[in-house]
């Protein structure tokens, strides 16, 4: 395969744009939650509901702050040349492990106070059908628990693989 330098420049720039777009998408998702919760805060008058929507906005804002602070970390191209293969593989697995393992802490976790308060309020003071409020709350709890459990399981699996590689590096 022969790739000209100019082609490499174009493709590298395209790759950088892809990464930036991926980051923008994550911010947009959080912004949608903020706008939706903001609309709820604007519409409702009950103080408990307003606090719930405010908590949801705060949760989404925290997620955006976390994204800005830690970013979607990727290996630097120079690292690929400086780092031996096993350690590079370990670092990629560790990055993935921290990402999936941390989802509970910085993506789902911050939303739970707002969701819990809102759902509890809607069960106690249902606007229409209490059964619907209960089913909705149970569904949300099941979904959040499943996502959290799957991510933790994936993180543990990645951690085991990282430790396996530690043993490979340590073997004589």
């Amino acid at each position: 395969m022969r790739i000209s330098i100019e082609e490499l420049r174009v493709k590298a720039a395209k790759f950088n744009r892809l990464i930036r777009w991926r980051n923008v998408r994550e911010y947009v998702a959080a912004l949608i939650v903020i706008v939706w919760a903001g609309a709820g805060l604007w519409k409702v008058h009950d103080p408990v509901e307003r606090i719930a929507f405010a908590l949801l906005m705060a949760g989404a804002a925290y997620y955006m702050w976390h994204l800005k602070k830690w970013g979607s970390a990727m290996s630097l191209p120079t690292d690929m040349g400086r780092t031996d293969c096993v350690r590079f593989y370990q670092s990629e697995l560790a990055r993935q492990r921290d990402l999936v393992g941390g989802i509970g802490k910085w993506a789902i976790g911050p939303m739970i106070p707002g969701l819990a308060l809102l759902n509890t309020y809607l069960i106690l003071f249902p606007p229409t059908n209490r059964r619907f409020s209960v089913v909705s709350a149970v569904f949300q709890a099941a979904l959040i628990s499943t996502i959290g459990w799957l991510n933790l399981r994936a993180a543990r699996r990645l951690d085991r693989r990282i430790k396996e590689l530690d043993r490979e590096l340590g073997s004589v």
């Binding site: 330098i5 120079t78 690929m80 590079f88 990629e92």
Partner: protein
């Protein structure tokens, strides 16, 4: 700040690396991806990573070691992404079961089966076998992978056993 001279150095280094190791990089890509279209994408990704990485080449290792490290690391990142999309069970050299090689198999069939075997290996074992098949010695493989000399020797011994066991018929058939 990157100067014009730095950019020229990076471009010159890339041209040198692509000229000397282009064929090896293509072989490496075949070891990581079976699908021909995806192989081309992977090879392109390797070349882009190599070009970008050379800005930081400091001469502390040989250009060869740098090129192979970037290629294997870029390919490993690729494998990790692919496994997220379509999970696949990868095996270690110790877990490779006997391949059903017919004694009358021709060289191309054997090579295809060897490639298929390599594509099933976990990244670390894949790196060792590909480097060994490319003529690297144990010290160079250790430098590339970070594995200890003893570990490299064990894996190379296992590779030789597999090749002797499963490809002996082919070698005999050729003579």
């Amino acid at each position: 700040m990157t100067t014009t001279s730095d950019v020229r150095d990076k471009d010159d280094l890339y041209q040198q690396a692509a000229s000397e190791y282009g064929a090896a990089l293509a072989r490496l890509a075949r070891g990581y991806e079976a699908d021909p279209d995806k192989q081309r994408d992977l090879l392109q990704e390797i070349h882009i990573s190599l070009w970008r990485s050379l800005e930081g080449f400091d001469g502390l290792c040989s250009l060869r070691t740098w090129v192979y490290r970037v290629a294997h690391n870029a390919a490993t990142s690729y494998v990790i992404r692919q496994r997220r999309a379509r999970p696949q069970m990868l095996v270690s050299l110790d877990e490779v079961e006997a391949l059903p090689i017919e004694s009358e198999s021709d060289r191309q069939v054997a090579l295809n089966q060897l490639t298929a075997l390599i594509q099933r290996l976990k990244p670390t074992d894949r790196q060792v076998i590909l480097a060994w098949l490319d003529g690297m010695d144990a010290a160079e493989i250790g430098d590339l992978t970070g594995l200890s000399p003893g570990n490299v020797a064990t894996k190379v011994h296992r590779i030789k056993s597999i090749l002797a066991r499963d490809f002996q018929g082919v070698r005999n058939g050729r003579s």
